[in-house]
Amino acid sequence: MKVALFVPCYVDQFYPQVAIASLQLLEKLGVRAHFPKQQTCCGQPMANSGCEQDAKPVYHNFVDAFQDYDYVVGPAGSCVYHVRKHFDIIEQTPAVQHVRTNTLELFDFIINVLGITEIPGSFPHKVGLHLSCHGQRGLHQANESEMTPVRDGQLRRLLSGLQGLELTELTRNDECCGFGGTFCVSEAGISARMGQDRVQDHVRNGTQVLTGGDMSCLMHLEGIVRRQKLPVRVLHAAEILNGVIIG
């Protein structure tokens, strides 16, 4: 099985530790992923701004970079969702189709392709799980409160399997954090307010470590946590899981 690690541009530049953790976690689970260095970005920032035509060369670059792999795995549900859903505007060659169907979010890959549903380890902290909307509503990685009161999902299960870990029960389980890509600057006021409200929900309910599967939401929430100097650590779930597992 040839697996490529897809490292979204902002993770590459600002959160290398998240990509390293993803790489190491996969390795501990028996998969040696490669990082094709031709990769740059999925094109979502342009497309969400109404410029998907301009993003086409970026889409082609993505497909070129990854077409020789069986799976493309990335620690960011939003970018994965973009590749799967919105790469429909370029010609659907076999390579494009292959890349679209086989680009998976990290935990989706771990659970559904590797079949690993439990990771042994201990993490004795109160952990608040932030669901990324694109991971949850877009890739169906977690139940949606619009459909059912049952709070369940891939990451929730993996995390609750860790010893000593207590999950925060949020007042609003799956409200959007307000990052929204370029929304965070074009609607900065609303974006900031949404992020502050999301962080408050965690603080009120006792979160010590704020985590999730999508670094873009976490970048925004971390920015608020640091601005407000709150006693909350923000970690990508790959960092937690990679940290607890004995390699």
Partner: protein
């Protein structure tokens, strides 16, 4: 002004924003409870969506069938291509009956057509009889929500309004007393109303019936007391059969407020003895929207308001920030059809979180349409030039791995070296109004990876 600029005004009052957000979230939670308690709810959504898709695909047929049946029932049917025609038809009917006093029950369509100012300018007194509508009418404001038109107002605001216009005691904010005052005030108006105007929730093609759903019973009271009833409807309100109706009555209020059904579901099929019933069917841009394959489904909307209640942006920006008759996510996909330039910022007033799509009882793919409108606006040159050019530049860089790596390195270095005050200047870095930038690391991942001896350099 853009949506974001209008939102900033709303956000200035942080407490009110919190209150607005929590009030509407409470409504969303009531909706959730009702939905969870209805095991077949997802089936009903699918059914409702299918019925609407089908109806829209044969709208010409059902419109004619509806008209024929309504006429057979003794109803007068009028067709209006746009708001101007609609208003002229209504005014003409009022003139014909020598009416100067009209009572109106809730109708987003007449709001859309700006009927009230038109009638007032022509010497007709129009009284909105829905309580929320009446409050904003007194204040000369537009509705901020399709189901809860005065939801932007707190009870203190209502108290002040009633004190000013209806002579209640200053500082009396007791909801029960205020409602009683409104009831007395409206009763007089009801009795004096010569013509009653109502909206339409559903129009049944096979019977020629219009169905109006209210909680206050004000449509029925108005219609029964007046000599003439004018029902105004958008042409997308049709459903084929009477038996289809129950699917919609079951989902409408569950989605809107969490009630199992509206208090009043009134069927108007034929005029009462000696009275008149008129139905005005309005296009006003709907045919054009029907002709846009990507946006056609927006016409399935039954105006339940659930997408507003769930929208994390709407809850924090208020309905008036949309500056369009229908606010919230659905308004953001309907408005560019009417005026692309004026409403260009609305499809961007969303994080594309998708919650609207998930609550919509007729399964409109709202967030996908928001994304598609952005592309249409981009192609039509309706984006700010700075945005367009920066995105073009970004695409160039991101299509070339070498350029991207070098650019990233420079940016990170700059972030590390420049003083905090410079990188976080709030005047030019909107991110910094509430957030710290990420702490730039020494190395990017790709730099780290290239240094690992065990990695092949694929």
């Amino acid at each position: 002004m853009s949506h974001s600029e209008r939102s900033d005004i709303f956000l200035l009052d942080a407490e009110r924003t919190t209150w607005h957000d929590e009030t509407l979230w409470f409504v969303r939670e009531k909706r959730d409870k009702a939905v969870y308690a209805t095991p077949e709810f997802q089936k009903l959504r699918q059914l409702a969506s299918d019925i609407k898709d089908h109806t829209l695909s044969r709208l010409d047929f059902y419109l004619q069938q509806f008209e024929e049946n309504a006429r057979r029932n003794g109803v007068h049917v009028h067709w209006a291509a746009d708001a101007t025609e609609h208003n002229a038809i209504v005014l003409g009917l009022l003139r014909q009956h020598g009416a100067t006093r009209v009572v109106k029950s809730k109708s987003m369509l007449t709001e859309e057509c700006h009927l009230n100012p038109h009638l007032l300018a022509n010497g007709i007194e129009v009284i909105d009889t829905d309580l929320g509508e009446r409050i904003i009418q007194l204040r000369e404001e537009a509705p901020s929500h399709v189901v809860l038109p005065a939801i932007h107002l707190k009870k203190e605001d209502v108290g002040d309004t009633f004190h000013k216009y209806l002579g209640t005691e200053k500082g009396n904010n007791d909801p029960q007393q205020l409602t009683e005052t409104a009831r007395q005030h409206l009763r007089e108006k009801f009795l004096a109303g010569q013509v009653a105007i109502s909206g339409v929730n559903f129009a049944v093609a096979e019977t020629g019936t219009v169905v109006v759903c209210t909680n206050e019973g004000n449509a029925d009271l108005g219609v029964n007391l007046a000599q003439v009833h004018i029902a105004c409807m958008g042409m997308e309100k049709l459903i084929p059969r009477l038996s289809d109706l129950s699917v919609f009555t079951r989902i409408l209020t569950r989605s809107a407020t969490g009630q199992p059904i509206t208090t009043y579901t009134s069927h108007f099929t034929r005029p009462a003895e000696g009275k008149e019933l008129h139905i005005v069917i309005v296009d006003n841009g709907r045919t054009q929207q029907l002709g846009r394959p990507d946006f056609r489904a927006s016409l399935k909307c039954i105006r339940c308001g659930a997408c507003m209640n769930t929208c994390p942006v709407y809850r924090r920006s208020g309905g008036h920030s949309y500056d369009f008759t229908i606010p919230g996510p659905i308004g953001a996909i309907l408005s560019p059809n009417i005026d692309m330039r004026k409403h260009a910022s609305l499809p961007f007033a969303s994080t594309l979180c998708g919650s609207c799509t998930d609550v919509c009882p007729v399964k409109i793919d709202i967030h996908t349409q928001l994304y598609k409108w952005r592309q249409v606006l981009g192609e039509a040159g309706k984006l700010p030039a700075s945005k367009k050019w920066s995105m073009r530049l970004l695409s160039r860089v991101l299509a070339k791995p070498g350029m991207y790596s070098a650019g990233g390195k420079v940016a990170r270095q700059a972030l590390r070296l420049l003083p905090h005050g410079l990188t976080h200047g709030q005047g030019y870095n909107p991110w910094a109004i509430a957030r710290e930038l990420p702490e730039p690391p020494q190395q990017s991942f790709r730099e780290w990876y290239a240094q690992q001896p065990q990695n092949d350099k694929a």
